[in-house]
Symmetry: C2
Subunit: 346 residues, 2 copies
Amino acid sequence: MRACDHRRVATLLYDGLGIFEFGIVVEIFGLPRPELEVDWYKFETCSHQRGPLRTTGGVHIEARHGLRTLQQAGTIVISGWKRTREPPPESLLKALRSAHACGARLVSICSGAFVLAATGLLDGKRATTHWRYAEELASRFPKIRVDPGVLYVDEGSILTSAGSAAGIDLCLHIVRCDYGAEIANRVARRLVMPPHRDGGQAQYVQNPVDRRAPGGLAPLLQWAQSHLGQALRVEDLARRAAMSPRTFARRFRQQTGTTPHQWLTHQRLLAAQMRLEKTDDGIDAIAEAVGLQTAAGAGVDCRCRMALDTKKRPRFASDRRNRLSHNCTPACVVGQAVSHVNPVTL
Amino acid sequence: MRACDHRRVATLLYDGLGIFEFGIVVEIFGLPRPELEVDWYKFETCSHQRGPLRTTGGVHIEARHGLRTLQQAGTIVISGWKRTREPPPESLLKALRSAHACGARLVSICSGAFVLAATGLLDGKRATTHWRYAEELASRFPKIRVDPGVLYVDEGSILTSAGSAAGIDLCLHIVRCDYGAEIANRVARRLVMPPHRDGGQAQYVQNPVDRRAPGGLAPLLQWAQSHLGQALRVEDLARRAAMSPRTFARRFRQQTGTTPHQWLTHQRLLAAQMRLEKTDDGIDAIAEAVGLQTAAGAGVDCRCRMALDTKKRPRFASDRRNRLSHNCTPACVVGQAVSHVNPVTL
DNA sequence: GCGCATATTGGCATTTCTGCCTATCGACAT
DNA sequence: ATGTCGATAGGCAGAAATGCCAATATGCGC
């Protein structure tokens, strides 16, 4: 394994490239950043294919380099892969293996994990991918320990990240490793992104992953979601999970990234949003149904009130199609009201 | 003003286009989404310039349409503008004004606000842009009420968003307005982004904006940041801000998006991260210095402990350059530990 | 100036959160 | 078998967060 410069970053272009994921890589590694006053990354686009390549959004782009350059890079980013079932060309795999053998760092975003998986280099290692593909990845590459619940996995020389935006998190993580926290924070700030975000992509998945994980909270959360109308106290939830309140709080944070109460409030607001759109019920009825009016405890106050307070109801809620000044539905307003709540969805 | 279909989305390409911002627009509006089972947006790329256009990342792309198509769209997105000082061509401005007169919605991301500003359509309206450009925008277009503290501004027919990633928030907002919260949430989930995020970009700016806003917390926050070592209680902060604890809590949430205590803890961890990199102090000394060991109150527990606990120190902190199994510096680990804390920076 | 409506503020009670301390359990070496 | 170490669980007290209500300020039309 020869030493190689991780600051030489190459990313793979291919026919059908997702421009968003590519954009992330460019934004983090590919922009000149004189203000940071460090020896910043050198960035190259490479492809195994010649000529203009189609991308999402209906535009075409052309890589400036071929696999040879890719292979010489110290950090290689595979941002997605058009069709997960399509095996990557052997020439590409060879280049990746060779680069890795020389000490290069392999990075994948979203379905790019399938390319890394195909090299065999992930065997026995942990990895992740977009939650839509997690199952497929795990079943097609059983040797890989797929963790669908995290935003990214750092296995040292191979790093994989979950869907789309999680690529930002991983790229920032890499910057943090290479240049330190301060630089990474500055990059994040310029991106107007939080410097780190976690709790895993589990938050963003529709159905909780790992339903039957030992001590998993998923069943409880599901139960809670369908009983939002009741005045659920954290203590009750803990009892239901057969844990002491303290342990429950700890587990809850581990698995969701928030406190039970914040999560609950957020669920209530989301539910309210949905009902505002899907039903013709009035604000009060909905608030009641999702447990917001009566709710014992805490979590909403002015924020939710701003949108749900019965006093303001006539202003926009007389009809659920009634539009606000800015063409927003009530649900939209609630959405903005929610915004201050910790963004955990599950 | 004729009715026009907001679902016809066009975005402007230009020489020097930021591929990241463009990617956002594509990802939200430009992907086929059969799974949503709605009449999704039609997406077009337009430009006033012919031929391949340079973009960030060193690739070239070509717009499929010209200004005529742009003008006919119902939603026009300007994702950035290469040089804020460069006046947009009159032909473009004309097309935008004309489209707007016909009822089209104008949307800007990042420095794209300068293009909208140049049309004059923003005069008297509220708007925002990337925090780096906010001041310039305000001074060059004094008639615009620039709000540099928010992620986006919805003025009905003109929507502006702050830097880069804030464009995602705005685009999701638009989807929420057009198709409702559920659809928007599904799009967000697929992006692995929170469905809404707020508290404003104020969180991400290095130096708090609006330092002298009436009742602004910025000075207090700055003071707190330089006195993290002390055992600051929320009550103390409130007193220092000359507010009752209750009012303080409310204001704090308004302006930062979190509770005082969460913010404080996050600041402590960030500070610890920095010190781990910049100084040769040991874990204990640093923890002490940023108020984590001694800290009265709450906020860290197992999360921070995971990285800072003196018991585990020998494992990775004997030398600050000492690497973990995954090539991470201690600061990096702390970063991951921080992750469960609400991502507010300020 | 007056009355009404709305927004802001402060205090209080309740719930929730969290650091810390102790107890328990299992692995492992002696 | 015994003791030590580490990890996890539970309990507790103090701090923090929040809904709610009452009081006060602010604004507005008359």
